[in-house]
């Protein structure tokens, strides 16, 4: 039995996975931090809120996909050259749409998400006020 398991393991170890992966080294700033710790912190915070396009439920900070590395390089080099994190985010949104950003923002399609809770809160407040008002007036009559 043990021998069979070992033989199977050997087969799997020998079979190289068919990799659709490039052989180039990562982009300069994919895994290298910026020298200025303040800028690096800004870049890092931004990277955690940008979606990896290859591995769609991870952020580019969490992903080892080559494309995520290339996106980190863009983020770091743009921030190093003086762009603000929001400018970099907007640059990516103008390429890939809102989808690339994990930071929700008000737009033509998302405004109901922001408006509905406010409306519901106002509605609930109105109902509550009316009920309290009613109870007060009935209490006033019975007293």
């Amino acid at each position: 039995m043990m021998r069979l398991v070992l033989a199977l393991l050997a087969v799997f170890a020998l079979a190289a996975p068919a990799s659709a992966q490039d052989r180039l080294p990562p982009a300069p700033y994919a895994y290298t931090q910026l020298d200025d710790p303040a800028l690096e912190a800004e870049a890092r915070e931004l990277m955690h809120t940008l979606r990896c396009l290859k591995c769609q439920s991870q952020s580019i900070a969490d992903s080892d996909a080559p494309m995520a590395g290339d996106m980190r390089h863009q983020v770091r080099s743009r921030i190093a050259s003086g762009e603000s994190p929001e400018e970099v985010r907007n640059w990516l949104i103008s390429r890939y749409g809102d989808y690339v950003s994990y930071e929700p923002r008000v737009s033509a399609t998302t405004w109901p998400l922001f408006a509905i809770p406010v409306l519901l809160l106002l509605l609930a407040g109105g109902v509550l006020l009316r009920r309290i008002g009613k109870r007060r007036s009935t209490q006033g009559e019975s007293a």
């Binding site: 068919a18 990799s19 659709a20 992966q21 490039d22 052989r23 180039l24 982009a27 300069p28 396009l53 290859k54 769609q56 080559p66 494309m67 290339d70 996106m71 390089h73 863009q74 990516l92 949104i93 103008s94 390429r95 890939y96 749409g97 989808y99 690339v100």
Partner: protein, 178 residues
């Protein structure tokens, strides 16, 4: 009492509608494509070195020379890129000018890829850090963009080009003024 009963029915209907919506959305095929927001926009400024000796590199100026073109984003390590090679060949035979950007690739690998699957490209730019790919909103390989004579992106095809996509791409090229 009657008002309460109507209110309850309204709630039941709302819940049923919500679950109906869930059922409908869950039965729809999943769309994993991230479409470029650059369709309709001019190509950004870029200038890429050549990757093979037989073809020049690619810059924005080459795409705004008055002739509409197909821009193929490919890589030698990408398997669907090999699968679409005959269709690119067919497009070129039908008169399309095709330029390409090679993503994260080595010259010797591209050389081997072109020798094996054919070279329908007039120019091939070398993009080692996916900068042009990111600048045009492409999220993978292969993708094919239609660029009009002024260098404006008019169409994006995501994934490999199938037989049935060839007439459609020629049509898009014609619409772009070809």
């Amino acid at each position: 009492m009657k008002r309460l009963r109507i209110t309850l029915w309204v709630i039941v209907l709302l819940a049923a509608g919500l679950f109906g919506l869930f059922a409908y959305q869950l039965s729809q095929p999943k769309d994993d494509f991230v479409r470029s927001a650059m369709v309709g926009q001019p190509m950004p400024e870029f200038d890429l070195e050549p990757i093979v000796e037989s073809r020049p590199g690619l810059s924005r100026a080459d795409l705004a020379d008055g002739q509409p073109k197909l821009l193929n984003v490919f890589a030698s390590w990408c398997i669907p890129c090999a699968a679409e090679a005959p269709q690119l060949e067919a497009l070129e035979r039908s008169g399309a000018t095709i330029v390409a950007v090679a993503i994260r690739d080595r010259p010797e690998d591209v050389e081997r890829f072109l020798a094996a699957y054919g070279n329908p490209f007039a120019r091939i730019g070398r993009d080692d850090i996916s900068e042009v790919q990111l600048a045009i909103g492409s999220s993978g390989v292969p993708e094919t963009f239609v660029i009009d004579g002024d260098g404006v992106i008019t169409y994006q095809h995501i994934g490999d080009i199938r037989d049935s996509d060839v007439p459609m791409l020629l049509d898009e090229l014609r619409k772009a003024g070809g």
